[in-house]
Subunit: 435 residues, 2 copies
């Protein structure tokens, strides 16, 4: 993408409304624009990140055997009266009448709708297990929306719902989804700890919250030191072994649960949640399938959420410095930025075009700053938007076929040939994707 033909409205001023670093950088980097309290437009740069996050979630869930569907944002309220949650959700659930005075709601979550859909088609235990998921906009009318996309009202959520013939199969799926979540967050460059959690309003009796470890996290997380060893690559555990380790959120933490020398603590941001729901919804809504022996069976369910739009903020909270965002390669909006320090200089233009075309040919997405802005402003923008690599092309070095390559995460710079710069970026990326 050529910046002159793109729409990247970076802000020079600090946005006053932003209380946390991710909100501040998302506004400054031209990723989002607020339309109403807790309701945002995603500008081009932000949308690319959001779609990269979506693609990782999609890919890992399909690998895990989940099947994608897409439910509407609006639904009739009738089903919520069947499940008993019509009153439970209160004002957080946005309800309104259509022109025919039928009551609709903007989905805050979809247990009722998916159970209804399931019961329309699935009649036999032979069709189980089944795990259906969607990535769709939800609305929760928070009293005090804040922190940008971290606690918005309209937000993008991945919600999956699984159906099983018995509790054992539901628990098998639960473990599989736990492992898929670990893989998803790892692929986004995040360290997460899954803490045993309270199941709250959704119901059920087994659940874990996935917390991204970040200094700016909203809640305290207590965990076994083994998690740090795993993170440092000194220890490898299976999903079962990981689930057996101690990890708890603030309100669940029991000080004497593990020896003090094994206890670690950090700040966390919740980005995912897995629940075993039991028969709560299928029972309330009277759903059954024929069992192997001819008797009717009420399916057991699990549900599994990921805050897709929230992740864009959480990744920034976990990965930034004072100059801006530092995107992990897997979610970066572009793989590399090319800075032309003197547009119109023949050597600079030629070298930039070469790099731009080589990176595209290699299947990468470069962002080429071909504007007539000053060098200082171009550097500041590139640091702010946090692409993994920066290639700076100035008139003196360009004449010698040299460029400056900078790795955003470490700030490390080197003056190398055009060919080496391209080879380095494409090679590093291949290595990282394979890891």
């Amino acid at each position: 993408m050529r910046l002159s033909q793109y729409f990247l409205p970076v802000l020079k001023e600090e946005p006053k409304e932003a209380q946390i670093v991710s909100h501040r950088f998302m506004l400054r980097a031209g990723m989002i624009h607020q339309e109403a309290a807790g309701i945002y437009s995603w500008l081009p740069l932000g949308l690319r990140v959001l779609q990269n996050i979506e693609n990782i979630v999609d890919d890992e869930l399909q690998k895990a055997g989940c099947v994608p569907v897409l439910m509407p944002t609006l639904q009739p309220t009738d089903l919520w009266k069947e499940s008993g949650r019509y009153d439970a959700l209160g004002k957080e659930m946005l309800r309104f009448n259509d022109r025919a005075e039928r009551e609709l709601l903007y989905s805050p979550t979809c247990e009722e709708m998916i159970v209804n859909l399931f019961s329309a088609y699935v009649k036999s235990y032979k069709q189980l297990p089944l795990n259906l998921y969607q990535i769709q906009w939800k609305f929760r009318d928070e009293v005090r929306p804040r922190f940008g996309v971290m606690r918005g009202r309209e937000f993008l959520m991945k919600d999956a719902y699984s159906f099983h013939v018995d509790v054992d199969d539901a628990k098998r799926e639960y473990a599989k989804m736990y492992d898929a979540y670990t893989a998803i967050f790892k692929r986004m460059g995040l360290t997460t700890i899954a803490v045993a959690a309270d199941s709250g309003a959704i119901g059920g009796n087994l659940s874990h919250e996935f917390q991204v470890i970040a200094d700016t996290g909203e809640s305290a997380v207590y965990y076994d030191a083994a998690f740090d060893e795993i993170r440092a690559g000194k220890l490898t555990l299976s999903g079962d072994e990981m689930r057996a380790l101690y990890a708890a959120a603030d309100e669940q933490h029991k000080p004497d649960a593990i020896p003090a020398d094994r206890l670690r603590t950090a700040r966390g941001i919740e980005v995912g949640h897995v629940f075993y729901l039991g028969q709560k919804y299928t029972q309330a809504m009277g759903v059954a399938v024929s069992g192997g022996d001819g008797a009717q069976v009420t399916p057991h369910m699990g549900c599994y959420g990921i805050g897709v739009s929230r992740l864009a903020g959480a990744i920034i909270e976990a990965s930034h410095d004072e100059n801006g965002i530092i995107w992990p390669e897997s979610v970066a909006p572009f793989d590399a930025g090319i800075i032309n320090l003197r547009m119109g200089d023949a050597a600079c233009d030629t070298v930039c075009e070469q790099i731009y075309s080589h990176l595209k040919t290699a299947g990468l997405s470069p962002l080429y700053d071909d504007t007539d802005k000053r060098g200082g402003e171009k550097f500041a923008t590139m640091d702010l938007i946090g692409l993994p690599w920066q290639i700076t092309v100035g008139p003196r070095s360009a004449a010698d076929g040299k460029v400056e390559l900078k790795y955003r995460r470490t700030g490390e710079k080197s003056e190398i040939s055009v060919e080496d710069a391209v080879a380095h970026i494409t090679g590093q990326r291949t290595k990282r994707l394979a890891a």
Copy 2:
């Protein structure tokens, strides 16, 4: 995808509520499920088609230089009071209060929101032209939602909005978008005719409607015989030449506009619309940028819509037979179906697995019917869901390494080797994608 692990709830009964063929087949093929009047869930097969359509639209628009954004589904009503459309849209626009009693609406279209977004960031003529688009869910509270996704209330729309320094540049963009639309619909296997249209409630004074030609179309279209020659490949015209040809919808048609022997008529389904809006919205909302000479300029706008979810239905209206859907290769949910006539037979299983794995290796998406259903049912399902190719593997021929290859569009069948079948499908697809 293995059918035994998929969710494809085909219906054997004719759905009583469906009045048109696309609605009937979408319900029978397990593509959609109605949640409320005009509000649908997209089941796995339907979602794949919807995403294929989205990808084509995305790809062609980005080639045309449009930049993707994503606006929220809900927006505050204030801006609509500025533009003067708050009252104009009436009950079709779904409005409601949030918990703080602020009035919100579910976007039926986004001129106001994009103009507001534009004015927040774009201050100079140097940032023009700019064409921002999104593919996002919209809601229009139709009095009588009907025909499935063809006239739903919650629907997926691609809406693009362009900004220009003057009318000439807006008209240049208009022509470019007209050409992009022609390319988009052609890539979906559709024949469209763009008719001069009334600009209606959106305003402005130059507009074309893109109509898919289908016998079941809702309105009459009158056009120059040259369009038929273009379709038959006997004539090639530039966009400018095409726009100069006569084409009009029913209410705009003037019987003496072209010689009777040049006049043709057909039924059409509207799937896209391009408008030149002039300064209607920028003026009403007081938006200006600095011009080249320092004076303030009120930008000219264009807006360009495509009914993405409606297209899924329109394609079926244009391409089906009595047994089911006939998907064009570019939007087909899977490239080929593999029918195992005797699961558990060693030769059948081996041959099916071979084909399945070869097609996947070639980058195609096969759907493998590995269920224990009877042959007749498997054939009926494959015809109904309309994948371009069917490969049938029966015990006798499988033992000889032979399979039956069927091309869904023509019904043409041949008994050939496994290798030839795979080569044929991958080769044909390569040829078609290149065309």
